[in-house]
């Protein structure tokens, strides 16, 4: 089990990903940046976060996964110009970040599609090697 693995993982993921909640320990969410800092400080919390990263898991139940995925999407979309259309579908729908956020908050089919996909993406990120 090595600190180097965590450092390599941290350096591979994007700068924007480093400050999005990803890992859960005892009901609290931690970003990759927090995990990196804790691991390098050699704390007990760091050891638990390192263990999650080594296993390629984010340590949540499916309800918590959905909650974290929503927070991540909200954080990402909130940082965009709210009224510029950024996304479209091949069913003739166009969305600004604000409109997409509304779909996610209302739990529509489209909103659920994005939350499910974000959970898959979180899995991909924690398994980056």
């Amino acid at each position: 089990m090595s600190k180097e693995l965590v450092n390599r993982w941290f350096n591979k993921i994007s700068i924007s990903e480093r400050n999005l909640p990803l890992l859960l320990v005892d009901g609290y969410a931690y970003t990759p940046q927090m995990a990196y800092d804790e691991v390098n400080r050699g704390t007990q919390l760091g050891a638990r976060l390192q263990s999650l990263i080594e296993m390629g898991k984010f340590g949540t139940s499916s309800l918590e996964e959905q909650a974290i995925a929503k927070v991540r999407i909200q954080t990402i979309l909130a940082s965009k110009p709210q009224d510029k259309p950024l996304f479209a579908t091949m069913s003739n729908k166009v969305f600004t970040p604000a409109q997409l956020m509304e779909e996610i908050n209302s739990g529509t089919l489209i909103g659920q599609q994005w939350v499910t996909s974000e959970i898959s993406r979180m899995r991909n990120i924690v398994q980056v090697r």
């Binding site: 924007s16 069913s91 599609q113």
Partner: protein
């Protein structure tokens, strides 16, 4: 008329944001078409139902790559004009024996299975919404092209003579390659990298393949060249020469 090998039809409407798909598709066709292939591209206002039906009847393409807005049971082309309905057997019969690639939302729910039931040999389409990014001009950046680079890898592989099964594998691999580009590759610090990775994750998870995996756009040519041993012409020439020498002697 049976579907003709090495004959491709591309339907490329460009209204209602469809230029984001038609621009990269046209570039892929131009860069990958091969000698001996019959290629028809119906672009913009030509991508209408009447021209489509005319081309299908006159050229009988084996491979049909159609772009357009869709719903579970309907595919539309330019101006949202419907071309295919899942419950219209006359329209479905037009696609008999063809490889049908529908870059369109939701058609894998009803229209795709209906096409296979009506005799199409293979179908690729989407179970839910197919997403793309419109933050830059159509065709201008890797970001706007990325979802379509993955999607069109299937038809690009067919243009290179691959089977439908090989094309499917290449398409899935291209999805992974694009995902890696925005997650850990050169694109990871792009302002919208997270959303691009999410769009690719989403599209990949709902991309659906139905039908036969062993169909090639040029099955006869592939079979024939495989059967001819390259040593045979040399053997025939040697026997002929030997016979001529024998006769002279």
């Amino acid at each position: 008329m049976p579907a003709l090998a090495n004959t491709f039809l591309f339907v490329e409407p460009d209204d209602n944001y469809l230029n984001f798909a038609s621009v990269p598709l046209h570039q892929i066709v131009e860069a990958n078409k091969q000698a001996g292939q019959s290629i028809t591209e119906l672009m913009g206002s030509d991508a209408n139902p009447a021209r489509n039906k005319q081309e299908l009847n006159s050229k009988s393409p084996l491979v049909c790559q159609l772009l357009g807005h869709g719903s579970p049971s309907v595919y539309t082309c330019q101006n949202l004009a419907p071309l295919l309905h899942a419950e219209n057997s006359e329209e479905l019969a037009l696609m008999n024996e063809r490889i049908m690639l529908l870059t369109s939302c939701l058609t894998a729910q009803q229209l795709g299975p209906a096409l296979i039931d009506a005799g199409a040999v293979a179908y690729v389409g989407y179970q839910q919404e197919f997403w793309f990014y419109i933050g830059d001009s159509a065709g201008a950046t890797r970001a706007v092209n990325s979802p379509f680079l993955a999607e069109f890898e299937f038809v690009k592989s067919l243009l290179h003579g691959k089977t439908t099964g090989e094309a499917r594998a290449a398409q899935m691999a291209k999805y992974d390659e694009e995902l890696a580009y925005w997650t850990t590759g050169e694109g990871k610090n792009h302002a919208d990298a997270s959303e691009l990775a999410q769009i690719l994750t989403l599209n990949k998870s709902i991309c659906t393949f139905l039908g036969e995996a062993s169909v090639s756009p040029s099955p006869q040519a592939g079979g024939l060249t495989a059967q001819i041993n390259p040593a045979i012409p040399f053997v025939i020439a040697t026997v002929a020469l030997g016979y001529a020498i024998y006769k002279v002697a």
